[in-house]
């Protein structure tokens, strides 16, 4: 589906389009909140705030086209985050409000958990397919929290070599996930 057709469907409150939008942006919004609000583990309300504001804005004609979806969503997420910091409280009307607009907008935390679980499974499988040297580098970097220079010294390779292999390994995994549409 092209972007503009997708946008028109969203405006017409097409459930499939809404589902696609939620599927695309929920992980991004979670990632955003998780990295901004450290130590918190419950972002459900905030994510609901974001989608609620998004669909309201869409109904009010605040979006000019498909190209504005991501910036608009990010702007809302930012505003919701600031509100959270200032108010530190939940708007009790949000749940009711969003349900009337988008029936699919519920249980974001669970959907995020499932998405993450799926990603972990995919990663576990793809990592196994990497050459041993790449797994050694990733293991040392991510699990042992070693720096690239340290890994280079340990493996007797150059800093550049280790850095490039690490980046390429991630790119390979990412390309495979995108090619097979695994996430």
């Amino acid at each position: 589906m092209d972007d503009e057709r997708f946008f028109e469907k969203l405006r017409a409150r097409d459930p499939e389009a809404q589902k696609e939008l939620i599927r695309t942006f929920t992980p991004r919004i979670f990632t955003y909140f998780r990295n901004r609000i450290k130590g918190e583990s419950y972002y459900e309300d905030l994510v609901q705030d974001v989608f609620s504001a998004f669909f309201n804005g869409l109904d009010q004609g605040k979006l000019a086209g498909a190209a504005w979806i991501a910036p608009f969503m990010f702007g809302i997420a930012k505003r919701v985050l600031y509100n959270y910091f200032y108010k530190q409280k939940k708007n009790s009307d949000i749940q009711k409000n969003i349900s009337s607009i988008c029936e699919l907008c519920s249980d974001f935390t669970e959907s995020e958990r499932l998405e993450n679980q799926r990603l972990r499974e995919v990663l576990n499988r793809l990592i196994l397919g990497l050459p041993r040297v790449d797994r050694l580098i990733l293991n040392a970097f991510y699990l042992q929290e070693r720096k690239i220079g340290e890994i280079a010294e340990l493996t007797g390779r150059s800093h550049h070599y280790v850095s490039v292999r690490k980046e390429r390994a991630i790119k390979r995994i990412r390309a495979e996930i995108m090619r097979k549409n695994l996430y």
């Binding site: 955003y32 991501a70 990010f74 990663l123 041993r132 050694l136 293991n139 980046e167 995108m178």
Partner: protein, 239 residues
């Protein structure tokens, strides 16, 4: 923010060492870019140690562990089988094929062997035919040499080169018949060569013994072709 810049900032973002303005640009970017967001998620998942990264030898899958050696064995078997079949392929017949290839008899423009010059038109066309003949385009040569004017001319020269053209074009039997005619006529101009090439016509028909007899006959004659015939006799006997 461009994707490559985003990639270089992933680690800083996850470790919270990124400065605020860039952090916002970074976040705005991953809202827009699926590829970069996926890169971030992979890094985040790895950094949070939510996946295992085994460093041992890759566990070999069934296909690799069992099928690869089996496939290697099958390939080896096929190789051996092919070699055996190639070796068992009848080498004499292969060599016979090689032996039945012949060098073209020499032809000189305006060749007068075999009698007086025929009509000049025939000779002109004959020259054209011989041009094709020398280029081993026997079919084109035969288009001229097979014309009734040439077959009826009774010239051993036309007959001989028609026979060789037929031999080259794969019509060994017809070639043999024409060569027989030249041999029976005992025209000295093409007699020896006719015997020699008759040998090849027989070889091409798979008549090895008769071919050998033909070459032996020529080899025992006092003939300029005897040497070449003897070589053929030796080769045929060596088969």
């Amino acid at each position: 923010m461009k994707c490559h810049e985003f990639q270089s900032l992933i680690d800083a973002y996850l470790r919270e060492t990124i400065d605020e303005p860039r952090r916002e640009q970074f976040e705005e970017h991953f809202f827009r870019c699926r590829k970069c967001f996926l890169g971030l998620k992979i890094n985040e998942t790895l950094q949070n140690r939510e996946v295992s990264i085994p460093v041992g030898e890759r566990p070999r899958r069934f296909t690799l562990r069992v099928l690869r050696p089996a496939m290697a064995m099958a390939a080896l078997f096929l190789l051996v089988l092919t070699s055996v079949l190639l070796l068992r392929r009848d080498p004499p017949s292969q060599r016979l094929d090689e032996l039945s290839r012949f060098d073209l008899p020499l032809y000189h423009q305006g060749e007068m062997r075999g009698g007086e010059e025929s009509g000049s038109l025939l000779e002109q066309e004959f020259s054209l035919a011989m041009r094709s003949f020398q280029e081993r385009d026997f079919r084109s040569a035969l288009e001229i040499l097979d014309r009734p004017s040439y077959t009826a001319a009774g010239s051993p020269k036309y007959d001989f080169f028609r026979a060789i053209s037929l031999l080259g074009a794969g019509e060994a039997e017809r070639a043999g018949e024409i060569l027989d005619g030249i041999i029976q006529a005992m025209d000295p101009a093409y007699f020896d060569e006719a015997i020699y090439y008759k040998g090849f016509a027989l070889l091409r028909q798979g008549k090895r013994r008769q071919a050998l007899a033909q070459f032996e006959k020529l080899a025992n004659m006092l003939s300029p072709m005897a040497g070449k015939a003897r070589v053929m006799v030796q080769k045929l006997k060596a088969l």
